[in-house]
């Protein structure tokens, strides 16, 4: 009985003491609150001075970044990664070629180019193991001691998972071809085509996303030599490769089209790979007009159109001149510092002119300006990328021609019965994939409807109206 009352007393007492504590916290909330209002307030970044030469080490875990100009393609980071989230491809120039791969900021001569350096940040587990072995210190996690190299960036959420694959390589296709990496490029294009097909099936009807894919295609083809379009029709891989090689050789030596076609034919015959498709393609080359010979009117019309597209879809850095042009400068010191300015400008997405102006300012302040350099820089300033634009226009014509042959899938939305509309759309998609013409597709639709007994006069008339 005594215990009974003691228990009650204990209970009340312990409860009161607990309640007094929580009340204390409620009353002194201003001093005790530990929450940080994240987007408005952020954690104070701790001082990362770690006692010894911390430049070598990286004590922050955030996004991986690569200074690709310093990468020598040694693959050490790829090997160190426990989750295989780094993928590097390298191409070595042939032994006898005099191709200059450039130098790193540590003045190491690069022996190969890196056409692909992609990091899948969705797989990365921030273990930092890739950072330690890098001999050029070009892969690092941003922020912390690397603040001067790259600002901290730990908030990089994306809507699509693929967007977390960051591509760092800035080697253009032309350079790869220069170095003799045609086979590599073919393979890569093949894979990307395959992947593109995969994306297209991502639940989006091509009819609905026509506009998007159109602009994408123009963007894509703007980099590719239009002559290759012809060879795409060739199904045999081997002969296609030979033909393309021969074609590029011809282009590089600025032959005219007839000469190129003959050259290609010789090359094909040498490997005994002649087949009707190739023959047709070679004929097409001869008929194919050089982009330079295109009507100037046409390109004028398209130009404004494309300019608009460019400004909206492409980042402004594309307007910057190529960094390789600076290699002509003899003095190492000046070249290095100019490159630095270039990189800074690129990161801030400045225009060519601005960057060149900055360079001039720098040179003036250092009293290192010479005639050669100023000539070079002013030549860079006035440069226009007219050639590119023309290429775009011509390839766009080809694309639009193909598209016009088919009617728009949206027209099918006028059909009221859902069942019928669905099956019609299916037929349409099937036909589109097989490159059928409008008339053929409509015939298919009518047979399809007769099969399922849904046919009536209205629909037949409607369909015929489409063609």
């Amino acid at each position: 009985m005594k215990q009974y009352f003691i228990d009650i007393y204990d209970t009340v007492k312990s409860m009161m003491s607990g309640m007094s504590l929580t009340l204390h916290h409620l009353r002194n909330k201003k001093d005790l609150v530990a929450t940080l209002q994240y987007p408005n307030e952020k954690w104070p970044k701790p001082d990362r001075n770690i006692g010894f030469e911390h430049n070598e080490y990286n004590v922050i875990r955030s996004r991986l970044h690569v200074d690709i100009d310093d990468c020598i393609g040694c693959l050490q980071c790829e090997r160190a990664c426990p989750v295989d989230c780094i993928k590097i491809d390298t191409i070595k120039p042939p032994k006898d070629s005099d191709f200059d791969c450039g130098k790193t900021s540590h003045d190491t001569q690069k022996k190969m180019i890196v056409p692909r350096f992609s990091i899948d940040m969705s797989e990365c587990m921030y273990c930092n193991l890739c950072v330690y072995p890098c001999p050029e210190e070009c892969i690092f996690m941003v922020g912390g001691p690397n603040e001067p190299k790259h600002d901290i960036d730990y908030e990089y959420s994306k809507y699509v998972k693929h967007d977390l694959v960051f591509e760092f390589s800035n080697v253009s296709d032309e350079e790869i071809i220069d170095i003799g990496g045609q086979s590599y490029l073919d393979k890569r294009n093949e894979v990307s085509d395959k992947m593109k097909k995969g994306y297209d099936l991502d639940g989006v009807l091509p009819g609905e996303s026509d506009d998007v894919s159109d602009s994408e295609e123009t963007k894509k083809t703007s980099h590719v030599d239009p002559g290759f379009v012809v060879f795409k029709t060739v199904s045999d891989k081997m002969s296609r490769g030979i033909a393309k090689k021969a074609y590029t050789y011809g282009r590089r030596n600025s032959m005219d089209m007839v000469a190129i076609s003959k050259y290609v034919e010789e090359a094909i015959n040498a490997y005994n790979k002649m087949n009707p498709e190739i023959e047709e393609a070679i004929k097409a080359i001869v008929e194919f007009k050089y982009p330079e010979e295109n009507d100037s009117n046409e390109s004028q019309i398209n130009k404004s159109d494309i300019d608009r597209k460019k400004s909206s879809s492409k980042p402004a850095t594309e307007g910057l001149f190529d960094i390789k042009k600076l290699n002509e400068i003899q003095n190492k010191m000046i070249r290095g510092s100019l490159k630095k300015i270039y990189m800074a400008g690129k990161r801030a997405s400045k225009e060519s002119n601005e960057v060149v102006n900055e360079m001039f300012e720098f040179l003036n302040s250092e009293n290192k300006i010479s005639d050669d350099i100023s000539n070079l820089l002013s030549s860079l300033k006035s440069q226009e990328d007219s050639l590119e634009i023309k290429e775009v226009s011509s390839s766009k014509d080809i694309v639009s021609n193909e598209k016009e042959s088919l009617f728009d899938i949206k027209k099918l939305n006028d059909v009221e019965d859902r069942m019928i509309r669905g099956s019609l759309k299916k037929v349409y998609m099937l036909g589109k994939r097989n490159n059928l013409s409008s008339q053929e597709i409509i015939d298919d639709m009518i047979t399809q409807l007769t099969d399922v007994d849904k046919i009536n006069d209205e629909i037949v008339e409607f369909l015929k109206g489409l063609a």
């Binding site: 899948d120 797989e123 694959v165 992947m195 995969g198």
Partner: protein, 161 residues
């Protein structure tokens, strides 16, 4: 200390011990006599290995194919021993789950990942993998299946290559 342990055990089971590395207290033991030895080291007053730390199965890929390593510790006498039983593929090892309850789950795990069977185990079934999994993944000759219950097993990152 280790000498004493070795002497104690080899006095009793001279024939069953294949070899012993004295410095690490590692014994390799004939599977036939395993249960007797286990009972002995648990109950003997000089040994008293009352705490079974770990059971590790391993795949040798040789004639005697699998091995099971038992790590014991005595909480009262503070000494340590490792005993290994190496067997061919189809032979069962007698279970010690009735002596050390800790062995229950460890043996189930060894069975799950290596397919080593323990006779007289109270509840011999898979523990980490699903009940309907085929094969024993930690074997050296294990191949990842293409399908599990009709679902394809992803092997590479399709958007990556």
């Amino acid at each position: 200390m280790s000498e004493k342990i070795i002497n104690n055990i080899s006095k009793q089971f001279n024939n069953s011990i294949e070899y012993s590395k004295e410095n690490n207290c590692i014994f390799v033991i004939n599977p036939d006599k395993w249960l007797e030895i286990a009972t002995f080291i648990l109950n003997d007053n000089d040994l008293k290995f009352d705490y079974l730390m770990c059971i590790t199965g391993y795949d040798l890929g040789e004639s005697s194919r699998f091995g099971v390593a038992y790590n014991f510790y005595s909480t009262s006498l503070k000494h340590y021993i490792e005993i290994r039983v190496e067997i061919d593929e189809d032979i069962e090892i007698s279970s010690i789950a009735n002596l050390w309850n800790a062995a229950n789950w460890h043996e189930r795990e060894t069975f799950d990942l290596y397919g080593i069977k323990f006779s007289n185990h109270p509840d011999m079934k898979r523990i980490l993998l699903p009940e309907d999994w085929e094969g024993h993944p930690l074997r050296k000759d294990y191949k990842t299946p293409d399908y599990y219950n009709g679902m394809p097993v992803p092997k590479d990152k399709s958007y990556w290559e």
